[in-house]
Amino acid sequence: MKVRAMTAIAALLAAPLAAVAGPDGDELVVNGEINMVTQTEAPAHLDGALPELYSGWRFRSDETQALQMDDFDNPAMVFVDQAQEAWDTADGTEGKSCASCHGDAAESMAGVRAVYPKWNEAAGEVRTLEAQVNDCRENRMGAKAWKYDGGDMAAMTALISVQSRGMPVNVAIDGPVQATWEMGKEIYYTRYGQLELSCANCHEDNYGNMIRADHLSQGQINGFPTYRLKNAKLNTAHARFKGCVRDTRAETFSPGSPEFVALELYVASRGNGLSVEGPSVRN
């Protein structure tokens, strides 16, 4: 018995180097009622690049995971409340608020996050949620555009995302968006910077592995905007892209740039089938 206990202790001591591997088996239910799909079959357009999809939630510690399971614990919900106020408040020369045209966000915005980025026929371009919000602000409200990855914008996209929680991400990749999707795919596999790292190097080839203290996920963006414990604020997908590219010792692209719009479309499509989780909590 003593020997067995000692052996077990020795195993535990030896374990830390290789203890964490792959996603955990936890299930995500928010507020005891929204069942999130955090693991699902990879979409056909991935051509087997990933055997299965996993939400980034599955790679986080139990403590971090718990923060997303109840809206009273989720630090991002403060920003959702702030955005609800902004939603109802007139701004700009037209004297309009979001609510003037879109009414109750809970109804009008349900399902919206799940299909963005998407093609805007009138503009003839792929629009992210952020670009659409700013288009409304500038052209419908006569208000100043928000900073693409600033706090106001992140909060508003959180308010919009929360109306789609639990719905499957389902961005279109064909038709008029196909060229943009192809561009995003090329960026995903390009090894940028002096470290020559592509998105795929870490998030396709090495998810589940530790890179120093970081447990690599698949880099899915179904949880954005994301409250990060690291910087204690809401983070947009483009701000995260920028941070990743910077960390390859590269000259980054800008939030809202055509490159990051294309990358967002492509990365979002890699998560088709996972639940919209935004605003999620990550470390």
């Binding site: 390009t190 910077g193 470290l195 120093r212 010792r249 000259e251």
Partner: protein, 157 residues
């Protein structure tokens, strides 16, 4: 007068050390291996261990486990463990692997630590901005030699 001479001498020694280094573009690889020392100065294994373990230097442990550096926390699991590297590889092979592993393993994820060109959108270190001059290699020539000296001590038991 004496001070001036000393300063001059110091400058000469500094300059000579630089002149004796092989520049990144002049390194001769044979099947990925680099026979000649990059500096002519024997590597310092202790400093090499520091470079391998330090986030501010080589940060090799971000991806590789090294049992000999058990006191360095959070060792990664991206690349193979470096234990026994000194038995698996010759000094020349180790030098080539550290300087530019892609010439030994085509397509390797491992960054090239002694190379300054051929990059896509290289930046100014970790600022995210464009470089404001020529790139410097990730490790200096002597740091490469020091890391090689350290790796050579990692023998199979």
């Amino acid at each position: 007068m004496k001070t001036t001479i000393l300063t001059l001498a110091a400058a000469l020694i500094g300059g000579a050390a630089w002149a004796g280094e092989t520049a990144p573009g002049d390194v001769v690889y044979a099947d990925g291996a680099v026979e000649a020392s990059l500096t002519g100065t024997p590597g310092d294994a202790a400093n090499g261990a520091m470079v391998v373990g330090s986030k501010k230097h080589g940060n090799c442990v971000a991806c590789h486990q090294v049992s000999a550096l058990a006191d360095v926390p959070f060792q990664g699991e991206i690349g193979p463990a470096l234990d026994g590297a000194g038995s698996r590889w010759s000094e020349a092979e180790l030098r080539g692997l550290v300087a530019n592993a892609k010439l030994t393993f085509e397509g390797s994820m491992m960054p090239s630590f002694y190379r300054v060109d051929g990059y896509v959108r290289p930046g100014n270190a970790y600022t995210g901005k464009a470089p404001d001059g020529p790139l410097t290699p990730l490790l200096s020539a002597q740091e490469i030699e020091d890391v090689v000296a350290f790796l050579a001590t990692l023998k199979d038991e």
